[in-house]
Symmetry: C2
Subunit: 406 residues, 2 copies
């Protein structure tokens, strides 16, 4: 954790990936992120992967470094407490991040009555008010039809929830931008962001939309070939699989140098009347270029290939399984300063990642574990809402709030 | 464009996706982002997709709303101009975002001599100083081996550059966080972020690392099944393919209601001794559940299925090709306020996306087109560096700077 946002407070009502990951990212930068939940936990409290006793590893990761406030959200008294938390005084408070239905008592127009300069960030599914999840959005925007082996027409879903991650980080940008604006002008606001719009905007940003409108073509299914330059997977003499890429001219020259294929490639360029210093021409001749590279790479054991490629500044890496990565790659261990072995409550001790940025003027400390559900209820009632222990005791007695399970 | 960051200035030296997309996102929020480039354009100036005359649609999209400064980066005079731009005075200036090699004259330790409170954000490939691109990072972290049909063991590369996008947005978070810190404390800093670390951290955040260490298992290849709950693709009577998901209890109940399969599903639960109110049990019986749903969905034409699913609040969407999306889906047209038809110089007029957030207190205006290379050179020399027209003329005569191609 690097506390560059120290002092900033965000109250979060969230579930699943995008909204919790936004808050977790801000907490990793030192913000005080208070997640409120139903007494028994929200709808993502048992999301897989779970441990043998059904404790969610996913939930713990998504809520690292936050404080947990467990409250009966159906009771008027519980709703009043959450409203007071969201609208608490202070230049660094008054930020509400949510992907719960922001209606009724959680509507921006209700909450701003209590704090006119509230910043309320809402993540929704799509712009029409419908639900959407990473997998449905990805089906809609077209990636499954252009992903996967070119000899197979079946659509291939992404496993990585890429749109959730993009939405999480964009939400954090929105919160920081709105907070900056409020600091400079005194004005708060509601910020809305739809998961589907994040994907749709990306389709434009990446050129997919322009390609159809301007060129009248759309991206085809190219298997593991990189689009628009040269890149593909290859197998080494000892059976390792490697991804090899030459986008820049320097990477391309390095590849010719490492493999000694400059002569054969020049002959190919002459035969096809192409200029391989142009990245697009490398893409046009990708099958022929791969046919030249394939036997060369297949003769190299991985260690020899690695040495040759690294010496020539080639952009490449080995395909690993998740197990290989986690158990045998130093980059996914404490050798990498973003990972620290910490105890996650109810789960165990293992290497947990911090947010991956390095701020030169701040010390990096270990990532903070997830809270137990309700772990900070009493602390928050005392330090944010200024309730005394008698009042806190009454809230427990009435079943309005809960502390952690014992 | 919604100018919530109006006044903030970022000087950018960048290529490819992550760093340019960071700046484009900040420009879409109203920041003055000045991209400097070699006189003839940087190494990403012809990146595909390109038009028939080799103008890059990709470059135009990645640089929307920026100002372009074309300069001879090999000349001492050109380097001095860029240094002055980066280190220009003002509380809103002094931010440098780059993924170029930040060595020599572009090193943070050199530049901070000129402006001690400089914020310099550097994106690098990996923590060891090596190059890395989205495709190599993805191979390393393991997704290709768990993506794609379960009956095919070949690794499947992502086509979406998800790690580039995540890095772009994280970089914007880093810049805004560091700028906030500087505003509050006066202290600038160097921020470093490795593309590979973004992916590695995500592997932890999403539970993949914990799953291996705690459970001793790792994610398998499940084809198009959603992990940990119920979801898969199905084909309708009229040949449409749909993604159907039931993560929450409400979505699951809706699915049973819409399909009338509650009885058959209850029978299945009894036979397998599972409780389908638990999302993990739905995952455990995913093949059997899919076998029940498949014939039902295959009897419904898309229109009837859509009506039934929408009425029951099911999370689903249709698989589309990119062409279908771009030409026939209103969400990817001007019907969606994030898209506006604008003229991109050298390319043409087509629907271009803005950043997808909505800030309630700001007006949304059309996304700004990309600059032509060098379009703002003279303007920047005059308004930022305060040079008079004679001095600007001399820089042109000496070949140190260039305006746009005529």
């Amino acid at each position: 954790m690097q506390a560059i946002l120290k002092g900033l407070r965000i109250v979060e009502g969230s579930a699943f990936i995008a909204a919790p990951m936004c808050g977790m990212t801000l907490a990793g930068l030192g913000a005080d992120v208070i997640r409120f939940d139903q007494l028994e936990g929200g709808i993502d409290y048992r999301r897989w992967p779970v441990t043998a006793d059904n404790t969610s590893i996913y939930w713990a990761e998504m809520n690292k470094g936050k404080r947990s406030f467990a409250v009966d959200l159906k009771s008027p008294a519980g709703r009043e407490l959450v409203t007071e938390l969201i609208c608490a005084e202070g230049a660094d408070a008054g930020i509400f991040s949510t992907n719960l239905p922001a209606r009724g008592w959680l509507a921006y127009d209700s909450l701003r009555q209590r704090r006119p300069d509230l910043v309320q960030h809402e993540i929704v599914g799509d712009r029409h008010g419908g639900t959407a999840l990473d997998y449905t959005v990805n089906a809609k925007v077209g990636f499954p039809f252009i992903t996967g082996p070119a000899d197979d027409v079946r659509p291939v879903n992404h496993v990585l929830p890429a749109w959730d991650i993009a939405t999480a980080y964009l939400a954090a940008i929105g919160i920081l931008a709105a907070e900056r604006h409020r600091r400079l002008t005194g004005e708060g606001q509601q910020v809305k962001l739809a998961l589907a719009d994040v994907a749709l905007a990306a389709m434009g940003h990446l050129g997919y939309v322009g390609e159809v409108h301007i060129n009248g073509t759309s991206r085809e299914r190219h298997g593991n070939y990189l689009y628009g330059a040269f890149g593909r997977d290859f197998i080494t003499a000892d059976g390792a699989r490697v991804m090899v890429i030459a986008v820049s001219g320097k990477q391309w020259q390095g590849l010719l140098e490492a493999t000694g294929l400059a002569g054969a490639v020049a002959e190919l360029a002459a035969r096809l009347a192409l200029d391989f210093s142009r990245e697009g021409d490398r893409f046009a001749a990708r099958h022929e270029l791969a046919a030249l590279l394939e036997p060369w790479i297949f003769r190299q054991p991985l260690a020899r290939l690695a040495k040759a490629f690294d010496e020539c500044g080639i952009c490449w890496d080995r395909y690993q399984t998740v197990t290989d990565l986690v158990l045998h790659d130093a980059d996914c261990s404490e050798d990498n300063p973003i990972f620290t072995r910490i105890a996650q409550p109810g789960i165990g001790t293992y290497p947990v990642p911090d947010q991956p940025m390095y701020f030169s003027q701040l010390t990096r400390t270990a990532p903070q574990p997830a809270p137990r559900l309700g772990q900070h209820t009493d602390q928050i009632l005392a330090d944010v809402l200024k309730l005394d222990s008698a009042a806190i005791g009454r809230l427990h007695d009435q079943g309005v709030v809960a502390g952690p399970e014992s």
